[in-house]
Structures are given as C-alpha cells and as structure tokens.
Point group: C2
Chain length 215, copies 2
DNA sequence: ATCTGTGAAGCACTTCACAGCG
DNA sequence: CGCTGTGAAGTGCTTCACAGAT
C-alpha cells in the first residue's frame, strides 16, 4: 500500500511522545490523550496507525510499550544508521558536537572538509578527512545518510558526489534547493526559511499586543 | 483572502532563488525556468503568485528585481526583525555564531540562560542575561521572535514566558511539541525528526545500490 | 461505557488547460 | 508564438460518524 508522506512525517512525533510516556511509566494511552499532548486530532492518529495495522484495543487504547516497538520497527529505528558529515566549519562542528543524533541511533562515522587547515584535525573522536577522499572512503565503507554543511556554492557538487557513493538520504543544512534523482530523500534544515514564512503572519500586527490566554 | 499556509511556506524559497538570479544579473525569468531550478511545477509558481497580484508579463515572464521586491514586501522582509535567544548552551552558542540570520534581517538582540556560569558572559557582542530577567527585559524592549534552545524539560515553560512577553513567533530547537495559543506561530528545527522519517524509505533497500542517474 | 478502526464525506492543495496579452 | 493568470478538474489528506470489540 502507498502511504501518504505526511503520515510518515508524523510517526516520529508519535514515537517521541510515546518514549516520554514510557519513561513516565504510563502503560496505556488513548488516541484522544496522545492527540491532545501533540496538537493532533485523535481521528488522525487512529487513521495514521491504521495504515500499518491494528495496534489498539477497543475500549482501552494503545499499549505504550507495544506501540512504541511497532513504530520503531515501521520507521526502521530498531537499528543503527551511519552518517557522513561534509563541511567541518562552525556549523559542521556544532553538528558533530550535538548529542541528539547518537542517542537516537544515528552515528556520524566520517567527517570531510576541503580546507587543509581542518583536514587531519580530531573533532569529537573523528579525524577530519580531505574532501577529495570522499568517494574512495565511502565506496569502501558506505554510509546511509549524508549531512551537508558546506557553503551554498559547493553544496550541489557535494550532494552529487554523495549520491554517486550510494547515499540515499541527505540532511541538507546548505541554503539551496538540492536537485536529486528520484529515490533519494532530502530534508532541509533551514531556520531562515522558517523565520521568513512566520514574518508573513507577524507583519501587520501591532508590536507585542496583549497576550491571548491559552486556547 | 485566506492564503493556504503551504503557499506562504514556499514564498521564501522563491525569494532566495530570485536573489541568486539577481546577483547573476538575470533580469527576467519564466515560471518554467524558476520551477525547474527549484523542483516546483511552473503552474504552482504562477498560482502561488496569483494570490497576491499579477506580477508577470505574458509572453515574457517575471522581472526578477520587481518580483523580488514584491515578495520581500509580502513576507515582511523589508524590515529588521528582533529576536531573543533562550538557552546559551552548546546549541545556543552555535545559533549566536550563525551569520545567516543577520544577513537576512534577523537580529538576535538578547540572550538568556539559567546557568549562573553563563550569565554575564559576553558571547558574540551580547551579554548573557539571567533567565529570571526575561520578563522585565522583554516587556520593556519587546522582540518579535523567540528562539528556544533549552532542554526539553524546561522548553514549554520558556515558551509560556515568551508568549506572556508578547512574542508571537517561536523558533523551537527543543525536542517537544510546543503548545501555544492560536495567533502564535511555532516552527520547529529538528534534524532528528527529519532523519527518523527518511529511514522509513531507506530501511528495506539494499545498502548502497547502483546510483540512479539524474532524473 | 469506552475507545478503536474505517468507509464515506469534506476540505485543501495541485495540476490542467486554455483564454488572453505582449 | 511564448508565457501569464485562472477557473475547473483532479488528487491527496483530514475529519466525520458509527459499527464493532472489550
């Protein structure tokens, strides 16, 4: 069956909420309660899950542990994913230092840069390699995900090389609209674009109005 | 007229592409050419722009300079936006050091943290203030956007305080589903969620298959 | 009584296709 | 002829509403 991409985008949200509920010792949760905590309608949660199976119990709800396991399996989070970082500038070093990836099963196993001053340096247990070695290194030892943290000018070239090395998923921090063949997945991380769409809604409002109470 | 939110989300993309074309000295562009470079259909671009006016010339296309000006005006990018950062840990410092905001008219004018070791320190031309001063400082000198870079546990509290100070837009780096009243806009920056949805598509594929040529 | 799973209805967004202008 | 602007058609996603399970 063909599952709507928006559904896939919501599953990680459910996963995270369930993980937090499990830590709290909660055993069962209804679509109603889960939805309220996430700002999603209960019907949507039920419909989303129904694409993959019948995980709930009528009259009770979903077993937190079981649903979490199912979602991990569905999303492929029951294994480790290997990632390569390209670009070890200020942004790249912040990405290397970020703990959030590893704790969720995503490991940066290679880091590359063109700048000779950075090549050879050790950053967070990794030795920065020369970007020209990207192809030989990744061909021998493939990764699942490429993280692009280079300037806009070279980003498309880097993406092309990564794809040639068999990388099928790219986390793109560079401010460009990446062109990739079908079957390759790109997610862009772009705070500026996010800001630029919010300003549309802000621009005609009086500055700092009386705050509305929680809806 | 009520404009679809997805349309607003695409306008910054167009803006960026046009800015790049302008630098290249291009004077006119068709929806066809702009679409190809962005991976968007020409019809979609024309429809999106038609919500706001008639900016093109039949038989020719759009004047790059003029369309860029219009989009800046529509999105409210023809002025400066003031932002406050909360959380000056590793992530917060990376955000402070990021040049991409300022060059697009977004200025971080205040930085807050709870940690006494960080309070008073100067980071990137800003003095880190105590988080308990958030309300008095922002009430006197309001900001447009709040950037949340605190741990998950305290993120909702920080967001509540920001909203009480009149902040109407939040850039949320914390791994939580923020609850906000209607009229407040939140964009989450969450690389891990992006990765977790891509793995769904990767999980059943052979590792590093023969790369598909550009589509 | 409660809450799931799901067809059917409703809504939102995208694409088509073409009239009309340059 | 080329390309925009736009109703109309088409597609995809969300919500409704209720039968059925516990």
């Amino acid at each position: 069956m063909e599952i709507p991409p928006v559904v896939i985008d919501r599953l990680p949200l459910y996963t995270r909420a369930l993980a937090s509920l499990e830590v709290q010792g909660r055993e069962v949760i209804s679509s109603q309660d889960l939805g309220t905590s996430l700002g999603v309608t209960p019907a949507q949660i039920r419909k989303d899950l129904s694409y993959f199976g019948r995980f709930g119990k009528q009259g009770r709800g979903y077993n937190v542990r079981k649903l979490l396991d199912e979602l991990h399996r569905i999303l492929g989070l029951d294994r480790q994913w290997r990632m390569a970082l390209v670009g070890v500038g200020k942004l790249g070093r912040a990405i290397l230092g970020y703990d959030g990836f590893r704790s969720q099963g995503f490991r940066i196993v290679e880091a590359f840069d063109v700048n000779p001053e950075r090549v050879g340096r050790r950053v967070d247990n990794l030795t920065v390699r020369d970007a020209t070695d990207l192809e030989p290194v990744l061909s021998k030892n493939p990764v699942d995900v490429g993280i692009v943290a280079v300037p806009a000018e070279t980003a498309q070239d880097v993406i092309d090389v990564l794809i040639r090395c068999g990388v099928r998923a790219i986390l793109n921090y560079a401010p460009i609209a990446a062109r990739v063949p079908s079957g390759v997945y790109v997610k862009r991380i772009e705070p500026v674009l996010a800001l630029q769409s919010m300003t549309y809604y802000l621009k005609n409002r009086p500055h700092a109005p009386i705050p509305t109470p929680r809806s």
